[in-house]
Structures are given as C-alpha cells and as structure tokens.
C-alpha cells in the first residue's frame, strides 16, 4: 500500500491482511508495556482541517504506540474558504520532515489531492474527506463485525454465535448480513462500509428515507429499503449500523430532509422494539458520537449487544495496522 485513501481501493486480500494485522496489533495491546518500537524515528503528521477530537486522538494513540513522533496540526476554519490552504499547509508540513500524513478535511477528495497533486511525496492516510470516504472507520467496523460474526451462525440455523474474541487469521465476512441505517447521502461511513463490507463478502442493506439516499446509487453493490422494520424482518441482520444524523439537516425551510425529529425517530431510529425484532445475536454499531433520542434510544445504545465502545478500541488497532503497513521499513516487520 502506498496510500490509504478509500475503502474501494482495498482488494479482498488486502482488506483481510489489514484486519489480520490489526488483530496482531490488538494482541500487543494486552501486554503491560503497550509501546512497540516499530516506527521509531518516523514522524506522523495529523493534519486536521476539521474538528474531530475522537479521530485525532485515535490516530495519535496508534502512532505513539508504534513509537512514531506525532505532530498535530489543526487548521480549523481555513479549510474550504481559502483556495491554497491545503497545498500550502501540506508543503509546510513536508518541510518539517513528515514521513506520513493523516488528513481529515471537509472537502471530498482532499486526501486524494494530497496524494496525487505532486505537492508532497509521503504516504497519505485519509481520516475522513467530506461526505466521501473514511476507510479506517470501515476497517474498524469490519474488525468489530469479524469478531462477533460466526460464519454459519444463528442466521443460518445453527445455535452458535461468535463471542467477540479475536477472529482467526484470514477470515473474511462471507455471508454476514448488515443493515446500515440513516443519512447515507451525507455519510462517508456508509460509502466506506458499503465498499469494504461487500469486498469482504458481507451482504449490505441500506435503510433510509429517500431524501437521504443519493441519486445515482443504482449500481451500488447493496440492497436499499425505505422501511426499517421490513428490512429487519427480511434480512435477519447480524449487525445493524446506525449512522449519525446531523441535526441541522432536519428542517431548514424547504431544504429539510425529513419533517421532524419525531418522525425520523419513528421511522428510522433504533429503540427497544426494533432491538427486540432483530435476531438475538445481532450487534448494534454506531460510528459515534450518538444522538441519543434521535437515531438511537438510550436503551438501544446501552444494550449488551451494543458494540459502540469496542469500536473505539478497535479503531486504535486498525490505525496502528494502517500506519504500520504504510510506513514500516522492510527490516522492521512484525
């Protein structure tokens, strides 16, 4: 891998390899001394044009546990308003001796541009670009699902459910059924997950009101439904992934994507009733931060089958794996 820009760029075998590497990283994190010497002497720059403390901390923890030096650069507010900011900033950072750049930006394609515009010449890792892609989020979701999904499990009649233990090396998500619910139109999480989960063999169903689905998604490798309850009944999901709904998308005059928060919750929120309708073993995922009471109720969020906290932990392992695969020298492999 030269860059990690989009979940679409990962082949099946590459995706499995990243997940296997992430499990290896996770295993080292159970030791008393968490730090690995792997990236000693390397400098990773977290270039954040958009606020996201959670994602930044996750990448920072990942880099530091691999003994890399980390420079955090936040350019809040200057992202899309001024033309040359991205280019100028990138070049400044290269002058500081960066070995890799983790970039978060509100503009779609910002990471792609950094990787290919000729401004810089180090690996670029996309930590979220506008409404386009967030590949490490999809990888951490896949890692979580891989731990909780047993091929040939309850959905296909057997009684066995996975227990959340590290998945065996080489395992993919063949046969897993995943429902992703909410604002697909504006969601880089949904785009990344449709790409990655289907590459890994899962069957994905998107559920949203038609206003929150993009025009032109007819050839996406997934099913689409406007009816959450019908989808649960038809799909018998192994996992339901709730997307965050931006409150500002609700009811701007004429431009609101749905009539009211209440109507959205009724149609597309996850509460106790829908949780009960799901297969018993099915897990609940959410990229966070959650809007409790809008897309998810408190009891669904805190349900024992909710894997939201675990997703955060897996995020560090996945990002360690990504940085390792992009940056480690030949002689310093695991």
């Amino acid at each position: 891998m030269k860059h990690l820009l989009s979940a679409k760029d990962l082949s099946h075998d590459e995706a499995v390899m990243v997940l296997d590497t992430a499990e290896a990283m996770a295993a080292t994190q159970r030791h008393a001394v968490k730090k690995l010497p792997t990236l000693r002497g390397k400098t990773v720059v977290n270039l954040f044009f958009e606020d996201s403390t959670r994602t930044r901390l996750s990448f920072e923890a990942a880099a530091k546990r691999l003994s890399a030096d980390v420079i955090n650069f936040s350019a809040k507010g200057s992202s899309v308003s001024k033309g040359e900011t991205l280019k100028d900033t990138a070049q400044t950072i290269m002058a500081m001796g960066a070995d890799a750049v983790v970039v978060r930006h509100s503009a779609c394609g910002a990471a792609h541009l950094l990787a290919h515009a000729g401004w810089i010449d180090v690996p670029v890792l996309n930590a979220g670009d506008g409404t386009h892609q967030h590949p490490t989020q999809a990888l951490l979701d896949a890692m979580t699902l891989r731990r909780w999904y047993a091929p040939g499990g309850p959905a296909s009649g057997s009684a066995r459910a996975a227990d959340g233990a590290p998945a065996p090396q080489g395992r993919d998500l063949e046969g897993a059924r995943v429902i992703i619910v909410g604002d697909v139109l504006h969601s880089r999480v949904a785009r990344s997950n449709v790409d990655l989960l289907t590459t890994l063999g899962a069957r994905v169903t998107l559920v949203a009101p038609p206003t929150l689905l993009p025009v032109g998604m007819d050839d996406w490798p997934c099913e689409v439904s406007y009816d959450f309850d019908a989808a649960i009944a038809a799909v018998e999901p192994d996992a339901v992934m709730m997307l965050r709904v931006q409150r500002e998308r609700m009811s701007a005059a004429g431009g609101g994507f749905f009539p009211s928060p209440e109507e959205y919750s009724r149609g597309y929120g996850l509460g106790a009733v829908r949780r009960t309708a799901m297969p018993e073993h099915a897990i609940v995922m959410h990229p966070g931060p959650m809007n409790r009471g809008l897309e998810i109720t408190a009891d669904a969020a805190d349900d024992p089958r909710s894997r939201v906290v675990e997703q955060v932990g897996n995020g560090v392992s996945v990002r360690m794996a990504a940085l390792y695969l992009l940056l480690a020298d030949e002689g310093n492999q695991l």
Binding site: V80, G83, E84, A107, H132, P214, V215, G216
Partner: protein, 445 residues
C-alpha cells in the same frame, strides 16, 4: 492598407482557390485574384491548401475586465480569441462592476477597440448588478455606442419568472435577445458536479439535470407566450435538447448553444478531484455528450459558444469544493469541434461556419460578421490547418489564465491566420502586434 493574397486556400474546405483581401473586403475570389492584386500585396503561400472560414464569432466569452484583471483583460482575452480564429466576441456582463449600464458597456467597447484583436460586443446585464431583482438600463445600453443586443445575467439565472417575462418583452423594442443561464438556484444550492452515478460515489453535492431542464422549459413557454427571442446558453443535457426540439417544432423563437467542453468531456473526470474539470453547468454523462453532438449536427442546437471562463491559478490549485467554476476555451474551441464533429463525420466545414460564425453573428444582430465567403463581403476570415495535431500546453496559450481542461491532450487543427476587417491579427499561428496597438497592461497579478 496592405492587400493580402491567399493563394490556393479552400473556402469551407472545398476546392482550392485564390482569395484577395483588399480595403477590408474580400476583393476577389478565383483564378483572377492574383491578377487583381496590387504589386505590394502580401502573398501568404504558407496558407495554400488550408481551410478558409468566415471569422469565428463567440456568443459567450468572459473577458473579466473590469474587475477581474488577474484572470484576464480585454486585451489578453481578445488576443486569445484571435489566436483561436475569432473576429468577434460577445463579452459577458458579469464583470465588476457589472455591465448593467451604458457607461460600463461603452468602457468595454473602448477597451476592445483599443486592443484591436477582435470586435468586442458587450453583453448587457438583464438585471441591475445581476441580482435578479430589477431590470437593468437595457434601453440605454441598446442605444449606446455599444449597441447592445444580447442581454444576460450569465453566471446567474434569471430565476424569477416575472422578471424573465418582463425582460423578454422589453427587449422586443430594440430587437434584443435574452441569453439565459438556465439553472434553478434552489435545486443547485451547494452543487459541485453533475448529480448521478459519479456524484453518488464521490459524495460531491449534485447539480441535477432537471435544474437546467425545468428553467429551459419554463423559458421557452414564456418566450412563446410573449413572442420574443430567447437564447439558451450552454445547454448540457439530453433532456434540454428534447425541450428545445419541442419548442422549435412549436415555432417558438429560441436558439440554443453548447460549449466545446460539453461536446467532449464527461463527469467521470471529477474522479481526479482536479478543479480543472469543475464548470457550470457541470460536465454531464456520456449519453448527454452523445445527445448534444447529435443535436448540434441536426441543427436543434444552433451555435457553439466557448463560455471562456478564465480564473487565476490559485482558484484552481486547490480542493475541488474550493475551486472556481469555469474553463478557458477560446483557443481550443475549433480543435474540439474538429475532433468531436468534423473528424467523426457529423459536420462539414460549412456546418462549422454556421455554428461558429454565421448563426452567432445573426443571434447578436451583427451586420459585418458571420458573412458568407463572397466577393464584396467584409474580410473577417480565419484560415485553419486541420492536419496539424498539437498537445495542449496552458503555458503556451495566449489567455492570461491556465485553466484549460484539455491540458496534455493532443487536439487536431491549428489556426494559421486570422484577418479582422482585412488586417491580419494572427499569422503563422501567432498574434501580430501592431505599432499603433495599445500594449498589454504590464502589471501582472
């Protein structure tokens, strides 16, 4: 004034013949042209065998002056136009200040005359400040020295149906035309590219075809109702073509324009995230490209307008969403038409003369441009070598800006010579500076 003898040129790409240009006119065409040439006439033997066309007329150019001189000036823009084979351009009204009164259009006219590369015809704004609220001083512009006949808020759509109706009615008194930038503003808020398969994947906010088509449908109905002339700028979708076809069949007085880039490029280019390909209306799908080519060939679309929209480098050297909409086009329009229409056999050189010269001149009510290649006609002509193929390099173009979408592409055809009212503005493919000409303003942005 020096006479010019063009031996063995091929008018409209047909049989080779000699052409004499003298006193600003086509003085002789045929085997007797050389005999009629004065002794001191210039012989242009390098043009033998090349295609002679009436000078091209661009119905849709952004020259950016006043106010946008870092992107282009009247001087640099019209010099690029001459190099592209043009002898007249209509300069869009969205300057700063806007061309919404007689003073500004006369200023632009004067700058055009001083530069001397092509005839500059300022377009008047439809509304004051292009705000879409009140009619501009259309009558004053029409009766000014600039004799404005084309009115447009281009850059913006005249979206208020009442204002559009009033504008269509008002210009009838001086035989004007409303050139509409058809874009429903509400359906395109925040839009970044064509809404479809590619935008869904990239997550870039979509500009739906229906935002163009719904305005065109409304406007042809309004134009039919009040009996006025409507010109549809830079039409870009297959659906728009269908509406124009329907309107013409109903006898509505509408003309339509397509840009060179909408004849060649598609929304797939957005995958590069290079704002070089960001334009308004956006690049559409391959099916739309096919539809507009067919419509240009069968006459449903009347003219090719460049929508030459220069921008300073920093407006394009950035993220897609931060990038400005627009592409340069004056120097590549003819090569694109050759590549998309002539070489595939969809159009003849006579058709090229029609869509790039005669009809745009007629829409803008120009008396001495877009005229047939005939004895006695004004010597506004261009000579093109269709056999040359050149790789597009923005650094060697004559426009002040570098935002061409064709960078690195090999395109057919080169304009070797352009004559404006009998005087060469381009020879051997390069602009001809004159001693009497105002020179290019020295300050660079």
């Amino acid at each position: 004034m020096t006479a010019h003898l063009l031996p063995g040129v091929r008018p409209y790409g047909e049989d080779a013949t000699d052409v004499l240009i003298s006193e600003g006119r086509l003085a002789a065409i045929g085997s007797d042209a050389a005999a009629q040439a004065p002794a001191d006439a210039h012989r242009h033997d390098d043009l033998a065998g090349r295609v002679l066309l009436p000078g091209l007329v661009d119905i849709h150019t952004h020259l950016r002056q006043p106010g946008g001189e870092s992107a282009e000036t009247v001087y640099t823009g019209t010099r690029a136009a001459a190099v592209g084979g043009y002898t007249a351009v209509f300069a869009m009204a969205n300057t700063t200040p806007a061309q919404d009164n007689a003073g500004v259009v006369e200023q632009v006219l004067r700058l055009g005359n001083q530069a001397g590369w092509v005839d500059v015809h300022p377009v008047g704004a439809v509304s004051e400040g292009l705000k879409g609220e009140h009619l501009s001083q259309m009558g004053a512009m029409a009766h000014s020295a600039a004799r404005v006949r084309v009115f447009s808020d281009d850059g913006n759509c005249v979206s208020d149906p009442v204002l559009m109706r009033r504008a269509l009615e008002y210009v009838k008194s001086f035989d004007g035309v409303i050139a509409q930038h058809s874009q429903d503003p509400r359906l395109t808020e925040g839009s970044q590219m064509h809404e479809g398969r590619v935008s869904a994947e990239l997550g870039l906010a979509g500009w739906p075809a229906v935002a163009e088509e719904s305005i065109i449908a409304r406007d042809v109905l309004l134009a039919g109702h009040v009996g006025s002339r409507l010109h549809v700028c830079h039409l870009s979708t297959a659906g728009s073509v269908e509406i124009i076809r329907w309107a013409k069949a109903r006898g509505i007085n509408v003309t339509a324009e397509v840009t060179p880039h909408h004849l060649l490029l598609t929304d797939e280019l957005a995958r590069t995230y290079s704002p070089r390909y960001k334009v308004n209306p956006p690049l559409r799908t391959a099916a739309d490209v096919e539809a507009v080519r067919e419509a240009l060939a069968d006459g449903t679309i009347d003219v090719v307008g460049t929508d030459h929209a220069p921008h300073p480098r920093e407006s394009k050297d950035c993220e897609w969403q931060a990038g400005a909409f627009g592409m340069t086009g004056l120097e590549t329009a003819l090569p694109i038409i050759i590549a998309t229409m002539v070489e595939p056999g969809l159009m003849t050189w006579r058709d090229v003369a029609r869509v790039l010269s005669e009809t745009p001149a007629r829409i803008g009510r120009l008396a001495d441009q877009g005229r047939p290649l005939a004895v006695g006609e004004p010597a506004n002509v261009t000579v093109v070598d269709p056999g040359v193929r050149q790789v597009v390099d923005p650094e060697s173009q004559w426009t002040r800006s570098t935002n061409t979408p064709y960078v690195g592409m090999e395109l057919p055809g080169q304009v070797l010579a352009t004559f404006l009212h009998g005087r060469p503005t381009v020879l051997a493919g390069r602009p001809v500076e004159r001693a009497s000409q105002e020179t290019e303003p020295k300050e660079q942005a």
